[in-house]
């Protein structure tokens, strides 16, 4: 929407963006004017949270109290582009992300069951096991379903819209022969060329309390994953710490270990571990990207718990 006032009588107008630059007549005074161009908000890339300070950060200033709120516009921007395989769009971010993929005839995508929200009739859906029994069991251990739905655009070009089970954000990653680890339950869909398996994490996974397995995506292709809450991308250049419950995905160029908050182990500061609530964190080191979600389903569940009716016995 473009908002402006008539230059002669100051009548306020709100018009659609496509009218920008058109000449129009004022309904009130009859004067003619040109509809101004829409004001594009300064693009601050808040989606990419870097470990270094960002120049765009707003300093806590002596501004009036009401105005001292910063808009996280970047987290609500529509993400779109061409993956090389197909065009995609992630809209309605960060609260109700929808992933739309436009497929050419014959193309396939593989999605978590029930992730499909709508699609054109040119796409056919086939549920089935993919990659044999071993892979399937691996995926099941990873907290994903045994079944992967295959969407094939076999009747001509088509479009499928996917959404996750919980309200939240979605993100896209292009695999180029490398590996991405995705937190249990965060996998949404992938293109051809991506190999998805569960990876046993041993004690690391055990202590994180988030399921034993991360999903391992490798190969060359596209993968989309989702979260509860918004997704923030962090470029790790040295070391970074994330609470285990908030990890969505990370690149395999990063080493990680599950630990209690560093600095707490020394000097009998174990109190922080037991009472500090931050319990276990994942300490990443090396260079690579981590995607972090801003909310955690478990917090919501533990909040709802006291509202449940008491059992009769």
């Amino acid at each position: 929407m473009i908002e402006f006032t008539c230059p002669s009588c100051q009548k306020h107008y709100r018009v659609n963006d496509e009218l920008a630059g058109k000449t129009a007549k004022c309904k009130q005074c009859g004067g003619t004017f040109q509809v101004p161009m829409p004001v594009v908000p300064a693009e601050v890339d808040e989606y990419a949270v870097s470990s270094a300070p960002v120049a765009a950060s707003v300093q806590a200033s002596a501004a009036p109290i009401a105005a001292a709120v910063v808009d996280g516009r970047g987290t609500s921007a529509i993400l779109s582009g061409n993956t090389g395989n197909f065009e995609y769009e992630i809209s309605q971010r960060p609260d109700f992300a929808l992933v739309t993929v436009k497929m050419q005839q014959g193309q396939k995508v593989f999605a978590e069951p029930s992730a499909m929200a709508s699609m054109t009739p040119s796409v056919t859906l086939k549920a089935g096991f993919k990659g044999g029994l071993g892979r399937t069991i691996g995926r099941a251990l990873g907290g994903e379903s045994l079944i992967i739905n295959t969407f094939t655009a076999d009747q001509g070009p088509g479009e499928v819209t996917f959404a996750a089970g919980a309200p939240g954000d979605a993100a896209y990653y292009r695999l180029q022969g490398n590996t991405l680890y995705v937190q249990r339950g965060a996998f949404m869909l992938h293109s051809e060329g991506v190999d998805l398996t569960g990876k046993w994490q041993g004690a690391k996974g055990f202590f994180s309390g988030e399921g034993l397995v991360l999903l391992k995506a490798s190969g060359t292709g596209d993968i989309f994953f989702n979260s509860y809450g918004a997704i923030l991308q962090v470029d790790v250049t040295d070391q970074y710490i994330v609470d285990t419950g908030y990890i969505v995905a990370f690149e395999d160029t990063l080493q990680y270990r599950v630990t209690i908050l560093p600095g707490l182990r020394a000097g009998g500061k174990l109190k922080s571990f037991f009472f500090g609530g931050e319990g276990l964190v994942c300490q990443f080191s090396g260079q690579g990207k981590v995607w972090v979600q801003t909310r955690h389903v478990h917090s919501f569940l533990s909040w709802v718990h006291p509202f449940r009716p008491a059992s009769k016995n």
């Binding site: 806590a60 109290i65 801003t294």
Partner: protein, 227 residues
């Protein structure tokens, strides 16, 4: 300290950038992610100051945790991302020596110059306001971060203002509130679903939240399996 509030209003998170030696006190469990150059301490008291166990226990009654987490940067430009547990917004309130009364679960984090204490609002208010017995009283100077359930909106009160119970986030202590009926007759108040309301008087700023957590909980609870 620099701050930025991302992904408002439902999935909001605050990204704080601290310089070496600066520290911030956060609600337990608020940390989402951080750089590696932080020293984390868990105590029952305000950073470097008084308080101790009694204040901690009072805070616990106010709906906050007995413990507080203090994050102190040991290197320059350390970032810390914090957020509340429930879906909702975060606001920054720069304190300049005054006092702000915060509803129990709305306090998220505060700079070290702010003293956090629990305050007693009186038995009648506690029983009927639908809020907790104690409130968190923040005084001093520095950055304060509050969170809400749903969206948050400020109201500048001059004279009187009425807020339904469960919708208060925080108010300046120049305001006072008492519990009253929503409409003239008591029956009418309850039939209207509003029951009792908080009537504010005085001059000052009040922050309200769009949604009331107990209402949502009572909506979900009966539909869930017994615990």
């Amino acid at each position: 300290m620099q701050y930025e509030i991302l992904a408002r209003p439902a999935a909001s998170a605050a990204r704080l950038t601290l310089q070496a030696g600066e520290s911030i006190t956060c609600e337990v469990g608020a940390m989402i992610a951080m750089s590696s150059g932080f020293n984390v301490e868990t105590t029952t008291r305000n950073k470097g100051g008084g308080g101790g166990i009694v204040k901690g226990l009072k805070r616990m009654f106010a709906g906050e945790n007995l413990f507080l987490n203090h994050f102190t940067a040991t290197q320059p430009n350390q970032t810390l991302i914090i957020g509340p547990g429930l879906l909702g917004d975060i606001i920054h309130y720069p304190m300049r020596g005054g006092t702000l009364i915060v509803q129990g679960s709305s306090w998220l984090a505060s700079a070290t110059g702010i003293d956090i204490d629990a305050t007693w609002q009186g038995l009648g208010k506690a029983l009927f306001s639908g809020e907790s017995m104690f409130w968190v009283k923040c005084s001093g100077a520095g950055d304060l971060f509050l969170n809400s359930f749903g969206a948050i909106y400020p109201v500048d009160v001059t004279g009187q203002y009425v807020v339904d119970t469960g919708h208060i986030v925080a108010f300046e202590d120049s305001l006072e509130f008492r519990i009253g009926k929503a409409s003239k007759s008591l029956v009418g108040s309850f039939l209207g679903g509003e029951g009792l309301v908080c009537k504010f008087s005085g001059q000052g700023r009040l922050y309200c939240q769009s949604h009331n957590p107990p209402s949502f909980g009572k909506l979900l609870g009966p539909k869930l399996k017994p615990r």
